[in-house]
């Protein structure tokens, strides 16, 4: 069993009469990427801010490697690195000044090769305001890593990035994980959460309404799996309703498309038919519901 790095127990936080987080509990293990998902106002930011020591919890207990973020901030700063969603840097600070500045406050030497690895070595003298959004995100990640923390918080790490920049940042996050870091990922991007996270928790109305691995969450969905199949001779196109276990069969171009809650049985049936009719299979696609669909299902259900 892996060591528990983050432990949240019955955590509550209210702002005046508004309850932002209402008694949530979860644990994060060493080396894990834990996705914190939820719509706006779900309580993710409040949870992150309390874990980062920026706010005091109303009730309950939060611990990062045994440290209470609200009471032991000086110890916490050496354990965590935070890539904030907002800039977090003065506009006229250069890349090299930022690294030296944060390293000095952490009382460490800037880690050699850090800027090179993040593709910032050519831009050491560039001011923060002159960096592209992608490079600003990379710099934020570099600063979160400058002191070698055990836990890294990533708040919407790829917001506003183009596709190549996103892919590069995803690769960096995976690389961080492989170096043993524990990562908390807060994001609106379900594809990102599904791709990167080992486990996720979906927050809604201040409560955790679902948690588990992305696969566990999607397989527990009430949504149906989409099956698309194409054969050389098109022998399946006329099956229509005569396909046990499948619903809504239709023809889309050269594909027979249907939906099923038992995709294994339907696919076996289809393959048997193709074999019987000696019609070679060209393409077969089985698409389970995405985390995004599951998320919408949960949050819509929660809202109702």
């Amino acid at each position: 069993m892996k060591e528990i790095v983050i432990e949240v127990q019955d955590f509550q936080k209210a702002y005046g009469n508004v309850t932002a987080v209402n008694g949530i509990s979860f644990q994060v293990h060493r080396g894990e990427i834990f996705g914190l998902l939820g719509p706006n106002g779900a309580g993710k930011t409040t949870t992150l801010e309390c874990l980062e020591g920026l706010r005091r919890p109303g009730a309950g207990s939060l611990r990062i490697l045994g440290v209470d973020p609200s009471r032991q901030l000086p110890r916490l700063k050496d354990l965590i690195g935070v890539q904030l969603q907002t800039s977090g840097l003065p506009p006229s600070m250069t890349v090299s000044e930022a690294v030296a500045f944060f390293a000095a406050y952490h009382q460490v030497q800037p880690r050699p090769g850090l800027l090179e690895r993040l593709g910032l070595s050519e831009r050491k003298a560039v001011q923060y305001r002159d960096l592209s959004t992608g490079l600003q995100r990379r710099l934020a990640l570099a600063l979160a890593m400058v002191h070698g923390p055990a836990v890294v918080f990533l708040d919407e790490p790829t917001a506003g990035l183009d596709v190549p920049a996103r892919a590069e940042l995803h690769a960096l996050v995976k690389e961080l994980q492989s170096s043993g870091k524990t990562i908390i990922l807060a994001t609106h991007d379900m594809a990102e959460a599904e791709k990167l996270s080992d486990r996720v928790a979906i927050l809604f109305g201040g409560k955790i309404v679902a948690s588990g691995t992305p696969r566990e969450l999607t397989t527990s969905s009430a949504g149906l799996t989409k099956i698309s199949v194409r054969t050389e001779g098109g022998s399946l196109l006329g099956i229509g309703p005569a396909l046990p276990g499948a619903t809504r069969p239709s023809v889309e171009g050269e594909y027979l498309v249907c939906f099923s809650s038992d995709p294994g049985a339907v696919v076996s049936d289809l393959l048997a038919r193709v074999k019987r009719q000696s019609d070679p299979l060209v393409d077969l696609r089985v698409e389970r519901p995405s985390l995004e669909e599951r998320f919408l299902e949960i949050t819509r259900g929660g809202a109702q």
């Binding site: 702002y15 980062e52 020591g53 920026l54 706010r55 005091r56 901030l73 000086p74 700063k77 965590i80 935070v82 904030l84 907002t86 800039s87 977090g88 840097l89 003065p90 506009p91 006229s92 600070m93 000044e97 030296a100 500045f101 944060f102 000095a104 406050y105 952490h106 009382q107 001011q127 600063l143």
Partner: protein
């Protein structure tokens, strides 16, 4: 110490890189100095006698009272202080280092004024270097204290303008920079002692230029230091890491306590 040096060097460079700070630290005070040198010395030749201290104090009002609060408010509202907090930057450094950096910019500007004033406009050269340095430090503490406090209590750029002008405009009009306080109507003359610039001019004229002001300079120095230190104490007490902070401790009206040493000064100077 390494962290202090990195932080100070960045703040000092930011004072040159940031257009607003460059304007308030250098262009506005030196431009005004040139304008006054050309105009005021023609209109009122007596101005030459107090030109150097008046322009140094004006430079402090520009850089510390008008320039210093903006970056503090922008950093708080932009989430920069949150990032600083997570990375262990203390509130004291956030407030004191920009003040020290501003003071260093003012050393350069004051040197330019002290050298160019006598050379270009026939201004009187200060005769007591130690008195000038002592007064300069007291003015630095008083003005940067006010600037930092405004940066802490102002919620946005409009509030900065309001609070800064509340100090800047009366200081310009009543603080003895353009017209000696002794020439003001009696009531205004008494009210003028509530302003840091009036106390600063009294100390500069008496200690730096050895002019007979009729008011004890060391009292002015003490009032400036007390006002400045009280302003820093209030700023540290009222400091918020961000606008939604749940750890702030007092009402911004506490900032008005800073007036107390100057009110005491008004009473003392009326003797």
């Amino acid at each position: 110490m390494t962290a202090f040096i990195h932080h100070f060097l960045f703040e000092f460079r930011a004072g040159l890189r940031d257009r607003n700070l460059l304007l308030m630290n250098y262009l506005f005070p030196l431009g005004f100095f040139a304008l006054m040198g050309v105009l005021m010395t023609q209109i009122n030749p007596g101005f030459k006698e107090t030109m150097v201290p008046a322009m140094v104090i004006f430079a402090f009002l520009s850089s510390a009272v008008l320039g210093l609060p903006g970056p503090l408010v922008a950093a708080r509202e932009g989430g920069i202080f949150r990032s600083y907090r997570i990375n262990g930057v203390p509130a004291l450094s956030i407030l004191v280092i920009p003040a020290v950096s501003t003071t260093f910019h003012m050393v350069l500007v004051s040197a330019a004024i002290a050298i160019c004033g006598p050379l270009l406009f026939g201004a009187t050269m200060p005769v007591n270097a130690l008195g000038c340095v002592l007064t300069f430090l007291a003015v630095a503490v008083a003005c940067t204290g006010v600037g930092v406090l405004i940066g802490v209590i102002a919620s946005d750029s409009r509030a900065i303008v309001l609070w800064s002008q509340l100090v800047f405009l009366p200081s310009m009009l009543l603080g003895g920079l353009m017209v000696p306080v002794s020439l003001l109507p009696a009531t205004l003359g008494r009210v003028a002692w509530l302003l840091p610039s009036t106390q600063a001019m009294n100390a500069f004229n008496s200690l730096g230029l050895r002019l007979a002001t009729g008011h004890p300079p060391m009292e002015s120095i003490a009032i400036l230091l007390a006002g400045g230190l009280l302003a820093f104490a209030a700023a540290i007490y009222l400091f918020k890491w961000d606008s939604r902070s749940d750890t702030h401790r007092g009402h911004p009206a506490m900032a008005l306590l800073v007036v107390l040493p100057y009110a005491a000064g008004m009473i003392l100077m009326a003797r």
